[in-house]
Symmetry: D2
Subunit: 431 residues, 4 copies
């Protein structure tokens, strides 16, 4: 947590960013009806209104209650309903039942957001904050950005479950295929191997799981300059990729069979061939777009089929840090902002090297603690550490990742069978 709690700007800057981040959550929820915001279509999915309330509860519980002695909790019941997984804070509503709650409704949750925003604005308007408090606010903003991405992932699943196939943003159906933003980078980026240093550099915000920064040894390797495309994935399908057990991990093959996978999630086979369901509605798959919504099992099988492998976290990080200044430097990385809600930011677009702003990239690395990792004391220490088993790390950042949220050392993680994240593939090879 030492990394995570480091404040990164002036008080005024923090106040402005608080308003911007909080406002963007409401912008994301705006196209959605009360009904849309209420349901939960699988245990992994949370209702939109739950995301809106939970992120608010985070600021109330970790900033206002401990650091504003006069703060009166808006509704004591919300502590039970909107705690996600912080065991230390107390009991909580069961996750798979979030979609059974009709009250509080979206009007009450909007009230809740307004009340907490007002109290937070009071706090932030008061000038320089105690660094610990500033660090918690910073953490809360990054936390809210993570939930912005989850909100979009989740509502995509909700809408896709509906046989009417409603779009999240209605920009004309079928939406035009996204314009290429340039040719996809081809070929391989070579690396000689040796001792490399990975982990958060300490300049600016980072989550606790990005540190400690440390040295590690890598053998000579190469990373693909571009992402695996839908066209390449079609070749994998056509070559029987989903029907050849020799390509799959044992657990992956079991998933293929029990879930009857034949293609990435949200792909639908019709008379005209494969379509992909986007947040702006369904359209035909195009060869150049990056493949997205594949599980780690599929990514791993594809890499084996291609005679390659997935990159390790360290390999990805050292190359990405050199190639994409947005991932380390002061410029905001690509990602979702208000402009992208015209549809252009809601599905990965072809072209370029794609380190960030298209899809998250599965790595070969199980998500595990870095050497010397220590979670923070107290409830916020539950943020990352307790998930460090059974999941695989992803790197990069997707088109729906809020702009500026990610970086080269950022470690995302999902179970290897998950497909509802905007997850894709970059290949690696031994040299």
């Amino acid at each position: 947590m030492t990394i995570a709690t480091r404040p990164t700007g002036s008080a005024a800057d923090l106040r402005n960013r608080f308003a911007a981040v909080r406002g963007f959550t409401e912008t994301l929820a705006a196209p959605l009806s009360a009904e849309d915001q209420t349901v939960q279509t699988m245990p992994d999915v949370s209702p939109t209104k739950w995301h809106r309330a939970h992120t608010t509860w985070f600021f109330e519980t970790f900033v206002l209650s401990p650091h504003r002695p006069d703060h009166e909790v808006v509704d004591p019941a919300y502590g039970f309903l909107f705690n996600s997984y912080y065991e230390t804070v107390g009991p909580r509503h069961a996750r798979p039942q979030r979609g059974l709650l009709t009250r509080p409704g979206i009007a009450e949750i909007a009230d809740y957001r307004r009340a907490v925003d007002a109290a937070m604005d009071d706090l932030l308007a008061a000038g320089e904050l105690d660094p610990e408090v500033a660090g918690l606010v910073e953490l809360g903003l990054h936390h809210e950005q993570q939930h912005q991405e989850l909100l979009v992932m989740d509502i995509k699943h909700v809408l896709a479950t509906n046989p009417l196939r409603p779009a999240y943003v209605d920009v004309g159906l079928p939406p035009p295929a996204p314009d290429p933003i340039g040719p996809r980078a081809a070929g391989w980026i070579e690396h000689p191997g040796g001792t490399v240093t990975v982990g958060h550099r300490g300049d600016g915000f980072g989550f606790d799981n990005e540190g400690p920064r440390h040295d590690t040894l890598v053998a000579p390797f190469a990373l693909a300059a571009g992402l695996v495309t839908a066209g390449e994935w079609l070749a994998f399908i056509d070559d029987g990729g989903y029907h050849r057990p020799d390509l799959w991990m044992s657990d992956g093959w079991a998933a293929v069979q029990s879930q009857e996978w034949e293609a990435p999630a949200y792909w639908i086979l019709g008379a005209d061939g494969w379509s992909v369901l986007t947040l702006a509605g369904p359209r035909l798959v195009t060869a150049d777009e990056p493949v997205v919504h594949v599980s780690w099992y599929e990514a791993d099988a594809f890499a084996r089929w291609a005679g390659c492998r997935l990159p390790s976290e360290a390999e990805w990080e050292v190359v990405a840090a050199e190639r994409d200044p947005a991932l380390t430097g002061p410029l905001p990385a690509a990602g979702l902002d208000e402009a992208g809600l015209d549809g252009t930011g809601l599905h990965p677009r072809p072209g370029g090297e794609g380190w960030c702003g298209a899809v998250w990239q599965w790595t070969a690395s199980p998500y595990a603690p870095y050497p010397g990792f220590r979670p923070a004391a107290g409830a916020v220490g539950e943020y990352n550490g307790k998930f460090m088993v059974n999941q695989q790390a992803l790197r990069g950042g997707a088109c729906i990742t809020p702009a500026g949220h990610t970086r080269a050392s950022y470690r995302n993680f999902f179970y290897p069978g998950s497909r509802w994240a905007f997850s894709g593939v970059r290949l690696a090879a031994d040299r």
Copy 2:
């Protein structure tokens, strides 16, 4: 179906009743938010907005489409989404996923209702109807009344699932205990047995499952003059009723153990003793009120504990027909109307004989076809007949049954483990 399709009044009368019944559905939905109307808290429950749409689909599908050649279907997708179980009509959306649909929302469904109501009013305003059509309209109205009761049962389950324990109607919390409407009838009503005639008499509307009217033999018996009360149920609990396998059917005992039943559904044990969750909020259990929300397994075990048994359908019908004129005659039977939404009609009240208007009464009879039963041809023939296995018959009518909907020959049915209906107990004994 011959019974069911018999028209029972003038064209003007049918038009008025159509407006009244359709309007009452909207009255029942009015206290509920868009969120409330969307979720499904167990497979048996349907969302309020689904009930509103499905009853509308029924008129559109079985009246307008076949009998108004110029009727344009409001939305072809609704045929898939809002078909409940009519296999003959075509494929349908899976029942356990009704709560995953956020669109159409309540605004679109209100539009749907208005469009179908307008088309129906055109039809009904045109004067005398073809008897077959009039019969289908009649059937649709009784169908809608059944869904009104289901809507209330279902929303009770939805709200009770919420840890905030919201009330359906807010009439002050805790609501006053209902006033007794008179002392509970005591003692037994004796019957000498012999050949009795049961089934719908043919005067007025009846469902197909109520016929053919036929003779059957019953041995001498007696029925309790009043309903089993919550006070008597407490004695059963205190005597270890839920912990004595000798009192239970084998399948019932399995349900007690797997579902950890310790009391009727919606009973909550607190510091002050047992409370009951009503649609107007929780309040302490009172001794005189009829027990409600018990499964057939519990009703059967209670009867065994009491040294009695449950009545057969025939026993119940012949006695009830004599005792309660409202159940056979021209007067509307007790039940829910707008006045009851002040809270008085939402929970069974103590007193009287309780044949109708308090709780449905489980019978010892498995729900099975009467001798010579034939369902109607076509889709409406799926209405009742295909459920005639694995369920138990109930008789009477509950406080939330729409006023005028039930009668002595009316056969309700649920699985023996169901508890979300307003189901209670009347005892019987051999003589």
Copy 3:
């Protein structure tokens, strides 16, 4: 239980019958290895060695322990392991885990049987028994005969689960099609209806569920003179019977879909058409043999397809009692004895009227208590009564029912989805 405990012969007769019945269980187990006798292939199935031990426990628990004060229980642990469902007697091993017990093995269980048989023989050799004790011995013998049939049903399921398709008796593979024992009875047996009397007459042994004998009213009807054949079932299959929801009860259609039924249990579609798995191995289905291993759902759907219905219990009983003297008179009814283990008694044979000795016949009647039914006090009262919900009654007796075990008033019962019993169909029709 008054019926069940009535002794039916001299002391010497009872002693001889005890030896014969107990010995036949061992005869049935003899072709089976220790491995065969140990496993449980679904929760409904019990291991052969469990049947051998449980029937022994029945005599020890209900006869020896209460009535032979000096009897020392062979192994106190057996009371826990081999109690089937007698809650009153104490806790018991969970039914679905019977197949996980490797000890006691078949050698110990043979010892257990020998020890209890010796103690029982001492008791039975002592001359006239107290009538209550004699009644319990009688009950135990009929109980053991029921388990003999279950043992054969169960081992058929165990062996059929094995991809090697081993036969229970090895009489040459493929076994010859059974010889017809005469032409199948054709046409209908008419009955004028009216008041009929059903239930056990009181002469000889009967289970408690067969009484009280009582009058009931039946409308004019007819029963098919013969059983539904495999050839007729093929016509049902060919006509899309398993793909037409209009033919099925709602719960039945759900079973068809979830269990992917396309034919009776143990039917296998091969290059040469349908084969049926018998206890003597697989062979081609023959047109004249009675269909067997169909669920009630299938029987009901078939009857609807044929424009008929299933008989009620009362209809079946009054006609059968007149047609088949073996079912009421002193002659042993058809059924399994040692001679039948040459293969001829292990699968229903074509021909005749088939009231008994071919297949159990599903009725339209839910299994429910007769008017005035009272189970016996104590543990043996759990024998039948607590299963009187959710199941359907069957009548007749199958080829594997021990010879002499059944009668016209005998009420068998299974859940409507069960198929591992030797259950078939006789049609009925209204007149």
Copy 4:
């Protein structure tokens, strides 16, 4: 596979070892009845007779069939029944149904073993083998040793499921507490960190997953000189270890709650305190014995509670290789042989450093491929590689690991929730 297929001795040596290893499997099965050898008490467990057949199938399929052209397959059906997971070889019987097979019985399986052993002896007696064939024989022997350990783990679970608590070896009940073989090593073994080299050295047999040997960086660390004891585990229990979510991974805490863990597997709380079920029967837990049958989740939580962590694979390997000559040198490591079947080899004994011969030691390392890992071509390439996700690596070797089977570079692996292996804990700490 290059490592795995390297032959390690003369032809005569291989022939002798073949006879010894195959014979030891039969020695392990000898105390078990046909019934014991047949059942499967959870999906992870395989029946003893399946282990005996599968290991035989391995030699037949991978050695005899491809390399002895005149070999006639003993029974073609065995290829389907006894293939464990080699997708490349063909379809196979579903793993969770292994316990439903009663045939072939143990007699037929003994015949199968004899037939294959005879054919193998012919092959091995012929003098120097083709190195590829010799490598496959070598692999088959190590494979069989792995199944010997599984056989013992599995039969422990089978016997422990039986309420009679039978012992695998009957050496008197309660068996004496094992004699300490010396005091437990105390304190910490320090390591300065730096670049270390891990993986199989290439001298002698190794599995493919142990290579390629490679350098890796480790930070300064220390490993506990001895294993975590049962006494220390009792302190963890007494301190509420199983009730403090802050100590657990999120998935681990879910397992604690759903499986109601309160202690290691096979621990039973009685009037006298905790007993542990051993293969020689139950006895009281002793403070000094190494704790065993804990999941990775428990090991990880314990380490956190103790203010430590689990070692990485590399840390464990470099220290163990220096401390325990048996793990690298020519001497056989500790483990199970015939002498240990007197009971002394069936449960971990206290004392010493315990690198090998007591319990497998969970590491912090997810089981993943080493840099440059390539599985062999063909079916034997499925041996290890396809399990390299979702599991955690263990190091060392347990008391029931066949003597001589393990080594410092040996990588065992189980899912983090598994407890039926002989798995324990060694602590590590950062320096």
